[in-house]
């Protein structure tokens, strides 16, 4: 979903794949991307529509309001879990 947001207006399958690939530095399969996007669409977290561009018709994804809320909640929960933990201190402890 974050990758869809990053890809902005050009959030079609291949671009989403590329976004994830560059940001995680891992090779990602196009099939896995489409399967995941389908699931997210079914849950109503993202939506897809057809956009006719220069390369023909494309399925373009966008994050829905429900998706944004889910992202916000995930982020909040994670931040809450991190509260009170100092990462540099933890890393230093392991190095020692």
């Amino acid at each position: 979903m974050l990758a869809v947001l990053h890809a902005r207006e050009d959030a079609y399958g291949m671009n989403v794949r590329r976004e994830i690939e560059t940001r995680t530095d891992r090779e990602v399969a196009i099939g896995a991307v489409y399967a995941t996007l389908d699931r997210l669409e079914q849950k109503g977290l993202i939506a897809s529509r057809r956009v006719n561009g220069d390369g023909g018709s494309r399925r373009v994804f966008s994050v829905t309001a429900a998706g944004t809320r889910a992202l916000y909640e995930t982020r909040t929960v994670r931040d809450r879990l991190w509260q009170g933990l100092d990462l540099p201190v933890l890393v230093a402890k392991f190095r020692a």
Partner: protein
């Protein structure tokens, strides 16, 4: 070569492109492939084409699992992304999953239809699978011998002697290997007080070179081990080796077999059998050139390149050699009709007709079941015409609608396959017991092939079920239906497809009923044969006297056993003979009548018995007297002989035989005829009465080890006394083995043979076929009636008599059934020869059997049509017409 020009970007490898294309939904296919191609081109430019190709393959490899999962998930959930609304649908698998789900829902909503269809199909599937699983190892699996096509059995099995074998050994023209064997039972003493009787083979050392199977452990017999004085050795079956502990050190150990220590030299591999799966031990027979008693069968492996058809030359030479050496008398000239039988036919040929007949019957049941379910489904399709027409109007094409039917049939098939496999497991044991398999029945084991067969049958059944409704859907003009469904079905289709299903069902049922009818008639005729003994209230024990028992002690043992049994409560008489009647064994020897110059040129049956044996068997005295205990003392010198009527007719026509002297057949001694009894079917039930002599056991200087002991009760069921009798024999002669116990009635049933067992099965299956057929006729006719209820309503409203409505409907049913009967009888003539060898006293085209089958089917068919006819005649025109 355009793809290699610098202007064109390099194309990705074709195979992964095709596979990915197949896994993607229509709407996304070109888009995703184009994007991948673009990235591929970029990578090829940057990192080189091989690296780009590798990347493309990696994309396929890691995409395929998630895409496959997506197909499944989409098919199951029916999810369609918003963007693909205008071009829905994915790969064909997706629609199949969707249809299967839809079909499953429909089936769950119609439990009666579903359960009926599944059970009907499962009956056919289970039965067919069970018979297949029994028949496959016997009829289809390769025999456990090397190059079985080269193996043949010689004519007149178990009629050849050691003398003949030794003369022929090593010089049989046209054969590379040649062996003789005979069957016997041996007593294995395991040293723990338990003596077991094991079916065994005594053979010349060439038996295994002929069969070409190597032992799993140890070795086969060596040259010279079938000579007198050679070390006593034996080869065990895999099963016996396992029973004895399965220790590899068994080779070289000694077992006590028939009271004599024998060294085990080998163990045959698992799955090996000869001549049937019950044989446990193979022993080399010390062969004597002077032994002329004929109880061997000859087997041979033809020289390379020869076939049975091309053996006439070598056989002519073989016969010439035989004829020259052994000047056979005309009565049993072995050179007369030489014939070689391929080994498979020789070993399992007798089982074939029964198995094939049962398999065909099961297959017919399956076909009838398919026709029934197809008719049911057709009814469902007709009931859904409006729904289907609407779907078709909304854009569903016929392929898709048919696919839905096929999915429904496939689901029914799968369910029926599972239920059928369970039924097959249940039916397997029952069928093994019911089929005349003999030694094979004991060896039949349930294997996964039952399930495999059930699944194959289920797939076939589902396909057949889907055909008729599929054709109906394909043919009908669905859009037209929307219009006609409200205005009336009078002009609707005539239901010809349903009609043909009924015709097919009836035809199949006729084939079964006629087959069963023929067998019933045969068996009735067999039962009507008078075996010459009173089979009621007679218990039977097949015993084996210990080998080490001396002959005089054996005479005494037989007397002691008979006397002991006679003292049991409820027993009136007891006796023994070396062979019991109708057991198929024809012990005979030459006869010479004093004063007749012809000498010993003909033979009669001979039976060595105890004094009370004939009375126990219920044989009737016609003249003279029966044996008494006093005859024992004179048996060695001037034995009393009782003869049967057939003997009198042949050797003493028109004269009184009492007091005349005839030879005993085993020495020069002449005996005196003391009595005449009625003819008894000594060997086979269906044989014409043959001359027979009965003598006391003491007449000849030896006693056969195997004896048939019988006792007659005073009305009590002898089966209830068998266990006591067994104990009594054990107590009287502790070393005696008891091979099996039975009653004379059971022995008689066995003698009636395979026809009886196959008849029982066919009768059950025919009942099933009739029920299924009746249900089919009823279903189709009642559907026909329902579809036209408006038609009847209008006719009744216009003044047609209700009885005429019934007549019209029954006439239609009768016409269908009649056509089915005609076709069925025609089909039966084509199949009747399958039963040929099981029939006795009736021709394959027996009019009575045919007539009965016709009448039964006609009655069942008409009855099945009357019920819906009655219903139609009671149609209330007001209600039907108001529905419009």
């Amino acid at each position: 070569m355009a793809s290699h020009s610098p202007a064109q970007p390099p194309a990705p490898p074709r195979v992964p492109v095709a596979i990915l294309g197949a896994l993607l939904p229509f709407a996304e296919r070109s888009e995703v492939l184009a994007d991948l191609a673009a990235e591929f081109a970029y990578r090829a430019g940057t990192f080189g084409k091989p690296a780009a190709s590798r990347w493309y393959w990696r994309q396929l490899a890691s995409s395929a699992p998630s895409l496959t999962r997506r197909i499944w998930w989409r098919g199951w959930s029916g999810f369609e992304p918003n963007a693909n609304r205008m071009r829905p649908g994915g790969p064909s698998m997706e629609s199949w999953i969707m249809d299967a789900r839809y079909a499953a829902r429909r089936l769950v909503r119609r439990p009666l239809y579903t359960v009926l269809s599944v059970l009907t199909l499962a009956l056919g599937i289970g039965g067919t699978a069970a018979v297949y699983a029994i028949a496959r190892p016997i009829l289809l699996d390769p025999l456990p011998y090397r190059a079985e096509e080269g193996l043949v059995a010689f004519w007149m099995p178990f009629d050849w002697s050691e003398q003949e074998f030794l003369y022929l050994r090593g010089r049989v023209p046209g054969f590379s290997e040649f062996a003789a064997y005979r069957t016997d039972n041996v007593l294995l003493d395991r040293g723990d007080g338990q003596v077991r009787l094991l079916p065994s083979i005594f053979s010349s050392v060439e038996l295994f070179p002929v069969l070409g199977t190597k032992p799993a452990l140890g070795r086969w017999f060596q040259k010279g081990e079938d000579e007198r004085g050679a070390e006593a050795v034996a080869v065990l079956s895999y099963g016996l080796w396992q029973e004895l502990g399965g220790d590899r050190s068994i080779v070289g150990q000694r077992l006590r077999i028939d009271g004599q220590p024998r060294t085990v030299v080998g163990v045959m591999p698992r799955g090996f059998w000869f001549p049937d799966p019950t044989t446990k031990i193979w022993i080399p027979q010390p062969l004597r050139p002077d032994n002329r008693s004929g109880n061997y069968a000859f087997l041979g492996r033809m020289a390379p390149g020869l076939t049975v058809e091309r053996m006439s030359g070598p056989m002519a030479e073989f016969v010439r050699m035989l004829g020259e050496r052994f000047k056979y008398p005309a009565q049993w000239d072995k050179t007369k009709n030489p014939a070689l039988t391929p080994l498979r036919k020789y070993l399992v040929g007798s089982l074939t007709p029964a198995l094939v007949a049962t398999f065909v019957a099961m297959g017919l049941i399956l076909l009838i079941a398919c026709a029934n379910v197809a008719a049911l489904m057709l009814g469902q399709v007709e009931g859904r015409t409006t729904e289907l027409a609407v779907r078709s109007a909304l854009g569903a094409n016929r392929v898709r609608l048919t696919q839905q039917l096929v999915a429904e049939a496939a689901l029914l098939g799968i369910a029926a396959g599972i239920v059928g496999a369970l039924l097959a497991v249940l039916a397997f044991r029952g069928l093994v017991a019911a089929l005349p398999l003999g030694a094979w029945g004991e060896a039949a084991t349930l294997s996964w092939s039952v399930f495999a067969a059930a699944m194959v049958a289920a797939v076939l059944a589902a396909t057949m079920v889907a055909i008729a409704p599929g054709v109906a859907m394909w043919r009908g003009n669905l859009r037209h239906v929307i219009g006609s469904s409200r205005t009336g079905g009078i002009a609707g289709r005539g239901g010809r497809l349903e009609g043909s299903l009924v015709v097919a069902e009836v035809a199949l049922a006729v084939v079964m009923a006629a087959g069963a009818g023929l067998l019933v008639r045969s068996v009735a005729k067999l039962y009507a044969i008078d075996p010459g003994i009173d089979t009621r209230n007679v218990g039977v024990l097949h015993i084996v006297l210990p080998n080490e028992m001396e002959t005089p002690r054996r005479f005494q043992a037989l007397r002691e056993i008979s006397d002991a049994l006679a003292t049991m409560p409820g027993v009136t008489n007891a006796g023994a003979a070396q062979i019991l009647p109708i057991s198929g064994d024809g012990w005979s020897s030459g006869i010479r009548v004093e004063g007749d110059p012809n000498g010993e040129v003909t033979t009669t049956f001979v039976r060595f018995v105890t004094p009370k044996y004939l009375e126990t068997m219920g044989v009737t005295l016609r003249d003279g007297r029966m044996f008494t205990d006093a005859d024992r003392t004179s048996a060695g010198t001037t034995p009393g002989i009782i003869v049967n009527e057939a003997l009198v007719k042949k050797y003493f026509p028109g004269t009184n035989p009492i007091g005349r002297r005839v030879s005993t057949g085993f020495s020069d001694t002449l005996g005196v005829v003391i009595g005449v009894v009625n003819d008894v079917a000594e060997a086979h039930l269906t044989d014409a009465p043959g001359p027979a002599r009965y003598m006391l056991a003491e007449t000849i200087p030896f006693v056969a080890g195997g004896q048939g002991v019988v006792f007659r009760t005073s009305g009590r069921d002898p089966a209830t006394l068998l266990e006591d009798a067994r104990q009594m024999v054990r107590r009287t002669i502790p070393g005696a083995g008891i091979e099996r116990v039975s009653t004379m009635e059971r022995e008689f049933a066995t003698a009636v043979g395979p026809a009886r067992q196959v008849m029982m099965l066919l009768a059950i299956l025919t009942t099933l076929a009739l029920v299924l057929g009746a249900v089919g006729v009823y279903g189709v006719i009642s559907h026909f009636v329902n579809r036209r209820s408006r038609d009847w309503g209008v006719r009744l409203a216009l003044g047609m008599a209700p009885s005429k409505v019934v007549r019209m409907i029954v006439a239609r049913g009768t016409a269908l059934v009649g056509l089915g009967i005609v076709l069925g009888i025609a089909a039966f003539f084509a199949l009747a020869r399958l039963l040929g060898s099981l029939l006795y006293g009736v021709g394959a085209s027996d009019p009575l059997a045919m007539g009965t089958a016709t009448v039964v089917l006609l009655v069942v068919g008409v009855l099945a049509a009357v019920i819906p006819g009655m219903r139609a005649s009671r149609t209330d025109p007001a209600i039907v017409l108001r529905e419009q």
